[in-house]
């Protein structure tokens, strides 16, 4: 075993450099894991808020929907929901691609997913900005 670390009763398969860096086989440590959890925790109150806000509308007509998210508090929460959702979605799609898709298709998928999520976030933010300023 190249560079195996030998303790009292265990044999590590990790190289000393890999052990010191602590980044694991995927090369980015626990960063993705933490980001997924933090965005999940953010969505625990935000997702029910979104469903509740829609359910509390008198109708789903244009005017009601528009006014629903025009208040500063509602617009802020909608923005937070949208960004947390898209961030969490990007992290999840990345895992699915890494687990089930191989080779060049995986690389292409990862790039398309990242760009699509960024594009959706941009479009969503601009849409909310216009919703807030519409009368």
């Amino acid at each position: 075993m190249v560079g195996a670390l030998r303790g009292a009763d265990t044999v590590s398969l990790r190289t000393p450099l890999g052990h010191a860096e602590g980044l694991g086989s995927a090369g980015h440590g626990v960063g993705h894991w933490w980001a997924q959890r933090i965005s999940a925790v953010a969505l625990v109150p935000l997702a029910p808020w979104f469903l509740w806000r829609l359910a509390s509308l008198p109708t789903l007509m244009y005017e009601d929907l528009l006014h629903c998210f025009q208040g500063l508090g509602d617009a802020t929460l909608l923005t937070a929901f949208l960004l947390a959702l898209l961030y969490h979605s990007e992290l999840g799609i990345r895992v699915v691609l890494e687990d089930y898709v191989g080779g060049g298709l995986r690389v292409a998928g990862l790039i398309v997913s990242r760009l699509a999520h960024l594009g959706l976030a941009l479009a969503g933010l601009l849409a909310i900005a216009r919703i807030v300023t519409q009368f």
Partner: protein
């Protein structure tokens, strides 16, 4: 990475005996992907709403379509399931509920609660009484 080729492989999924908790796990991923696709529709609705009365008014026509309401129903089920099972995962992350009995019980709870929540939301929610 000199030793990459010599590393032991993780056992493939097929070596495990099938258990219904595995179906719940697969459903978590599946509902997550559906929600990702649904977020495109969500941003589309926001853009329509932002584009003035003509486009915003088209939303009313969209919600008038049964197929659109069914898609929204499916999206809310995926949201409720992914939400409930996601909380189950967060509980596991703090080191609780791992015992096989607890994990099976919480699995059943998540499965049934998400169905009940979807039914309740559509019974009393925005499309009350006009799902189909």
């Amino acid at each position: 990475m000199p030793s990459a080729a010599n590393r032991p492989l993780s056992p493939h999924l097929s070596v495990y005996r099938w258990q219904y908790t595995m179906a719940l796990s697969i459903l978590h991923r599946f509902t997550g992907v559906v929600l990702s696709v649904g977020s495109v529709a969500l941003v589309g609705c926001l853009l329509a709403l932002a584009s003035g009365p003509q486009w915003g008014g088209n939303l009313e026509g969209l919600f008038g379509l049964r197929i659109a309401r069914l898609a929204a129903l499916g999206w809310t089920y995926c949201l409720f399931y992914h939400f409930a099972n996601g909380v189950r995962h967060l509980v596991w992350d703090i080191g609780r509920g791992f015992e096989p009995g607890h994990a099976r019980l919480s699995g059943w709870f998540v499965f049934l609660a998400s169905l009940a929540a979807t039914g309740a939301y559509w019974w009393w929610g925005p499309f009350a009484g006009q799902i189909l």
